[in-house]
Amino acid sequence: MAILLDVKNLQTRFDTEAGVVKAVDGVSFHINEQEIVGFVGESGCGKSVTQLSVMQLIPNPPGRIIGGEVWFDGKDLLKYERNGSEMRSVRGSKISMIFQEPMTSLNPVLTISEQIGESMQLHLRLNKADARKRAVELLSLVGIPAAESRIDDYPHQFSGGMRQRVMIAIGLACNPRLIIADEPTTALDVTTQAVLLELIKDLVKRFNTSLTLVTHNLGVVARYAQRIYVMYAGRIVEAGPTNEIFAHPRHPYTVGLLKCVPRLDQPRDKQLVPIEGLPPNLIKMPPMCAFLPRCAYRINRCEKSHWPPLTPVGEHHSAACFVNLEATLENDDK
């Protein structure tokens, strides 16, 4: 499988009054063609900032991408000027985004037709009538009934789930190579979540699009993603194929996350335990492993060393931890 997006050592910071927030601190990952890749982690650990950095959509001020490379189509996107024409020609046409907040991500004063059609007018050079016609097609494609008659409605005339369908239509409009969906269903009720995730999965499959699926729900990635990146405190702490990570988690944080997902392969009465404590404040982080204060498996070395780099623990599996978790967990079970 060919690599579509290759991100290397990405670093993004925010200058706030309280200090510099290292929101993304040396993140590397890649997305293959036609692959669904999950990003998981608790809220505030830098998932959104990572994805926004790929598109250079970090608000400046206060945000700054201070380092790294984002290789896409043989070009390093970070070499492009932030809102320059080259960067803009990638946004919405080759990489598009679906955001978390369906209630606020659509412009309240523009019709759905305009909001779906404008990127096609821009990138595909369609005229207004053709863009509109295709907007209607897209709208029925994402499952909005009576698309023809709803195309001139405004966002407030749609429910949250329907608005998110509109966002999906916008994301698909120019037939991008990669869609980045940042918690696309978090704001919706459980039933709608499932329906929309299925829809997204079907559509990316149908159009051979790659998908980055950001979520804080491991259950969701388990179902849809082929590979997972687990993020904690602005870094990737574990990466690997989904079934491998579910079967043999190698980072205590991943273990913790797994303990809070209901699983079919385990007895129903098994307790779901949330990870104790809170994610760290990303200002003035100590040099040690960021998960240390919450870690149940810590060893002496953790407190004395600089944070552990992501190291291979299997063929496609890597984790950033000093502890040989597999051995430890086996001992626990005995």
Binding site: R88, F99, P108
Partner: protein, 345 residues
């Protein structure tokens, strides 16, 4: 914004309800009809209020007129006759009803001083006041809104700082003081503009506009500054909204972001400020017309109040009130046009 509600749909609303767009046209009509009825009530209240207020002012218009016209020496009987002639001896309620009846027939009453129907004079002067008002409003929009946009888009630059400083000064400068300074600089010192006065357009267009320059600047200063400030702050707020991020993610350029996605949202709160400005300009006409000695309605009001000229004061205030009410209705309609979320209810 009484009578208007912003429709926030709940996330669980059925997607199949199609009740909104279909109803809108007729909604607007009933809304306007209801607003007109409301306006009539408001105007009635204003008329009662101004009728009583002017009569609560110390002094007697007949005595004042007699004194000012050097008619001293009239006998008490003659004074009583005069009072009777203007109906000022009747009970207040009756006087009010007489006046109201006249107003409904387009007769605003007779001035005790000039002994002529006030309507004629008021409507002769009305266009002068309205002309200054319209130019001022136009100037405020044409300058205030773009300046506010530029300031927001170039936030933190020297332009922005200049705009913020000037608009803060602009909203605090007293109009009469500015008038005097302008006269000193542009008329007496630079001799670019006539000091004061008014020439009808038909008589001498050049002079007409020259004489309007300073009055228009004075009466628009506050609203230019207020509009610039409001536009700046609401544009700044809009630029941080999620839908602007969505627009950037589509690959649009900055101009499309600002003019297509941000401006209409940003201007919604500006409409309110515009309404306030329009009302301020109408009210400020008294000062500006007095300073620049312009024979408009504002100056007429000032002299009518000091003469206790009941008919003029009542007539002018009523017309100002009607203008303000009309501006309010207009503002609400513009709101509905600008913001599709607003429903008329």
């Amino acid at each position: 914004m009484r009578g208007l509600t912003r429709k926030m749909s709940s996330p669980v609303r059925s997607p199949f309800r199609r009740d909104l767009t279909g109803l809108k046209e007729s909604d607007v009509t009933t809304y306007i009809v209801r607003r007109l009825l409301q306006s009539i009530v408001v105007l009635l209240l204003v008329s009662i209020f101004v009728f009583l207020a002017i009569r609560l002012m110390p002094g007697d218009p007949i005595k004042l007129m007699v004194y000012e016209s050097n008619l001293t020496g009239l006998s008490p009987q003659q004074l009583a006759d005069l009072r009777h002639e203007y109906g000022l001896d009747k009970p207040l309620a009756l006087q009010y009803l007489d006046w109201l009846g006249g107003v409904l027939q387009g007769n605003l009453g007779i001035s005790v001083f000039t002994k002529t129907p006030v309507a004629k004079e008021i409507f002769r002067r009305l266009p002068i006041t309205f002309e200054i008002g319209l130019w001022s409003l136009l100037l405020s929009i044409v300058i205030g809104v773009p300046v506010g946009i530029i300031s927001a888009v170039r936030r933190g630059t020297w332009i922005d700082q200049l705009v913020v400083t000037l608009s803060n000064i602009g909203v605090t400068i007293p109009v009469f003081w500015l008038g005097v300074i302008l006269m000193l600089v542009f008329s007496l010192y630079l001799k670019w503009l006539p000091v004061m006065g008014f020439t009808p357009l038909t008589e001498d267009p050049g002079m007409h506009f020259k004489q309007l320059v300073m009055p228009v600047i004075c009466s628009s200063l506050f609203s230019v500054a207020a509009l610039a400030r409001q536009t700046r702050s609401s544009m700044l707020e809009v630029m941080h909204q999620d839908y602007i991020r969505t627009a950037w993610s589509k690959g649009l350029n900055e101009n499309a972001i600002i003019f297509k996605h941000a401006l209409k949202n940003g201007l919604i709160p500006v409409i309110t400020t515009l309404g306030l400005s329009a009302r301020g300009i109408v009210g400020g006409s008294t000062v500006v017309e007095t300073v620049f000695s312009i024979p408009g309605m504002g100056r007429l009001l000032v002299s009518a109040v000091s003469n206790l000229d009941y008919a003029y004061v009542q007539g002018i205030i009523l017309i100002i009130a009607a203008t303000v009410v009309a501006i309010n209705v207009l503002i609400d309609i513009v709101y509905g046009w600008a913001d599709p979320r607003i429903r008329y209810s």
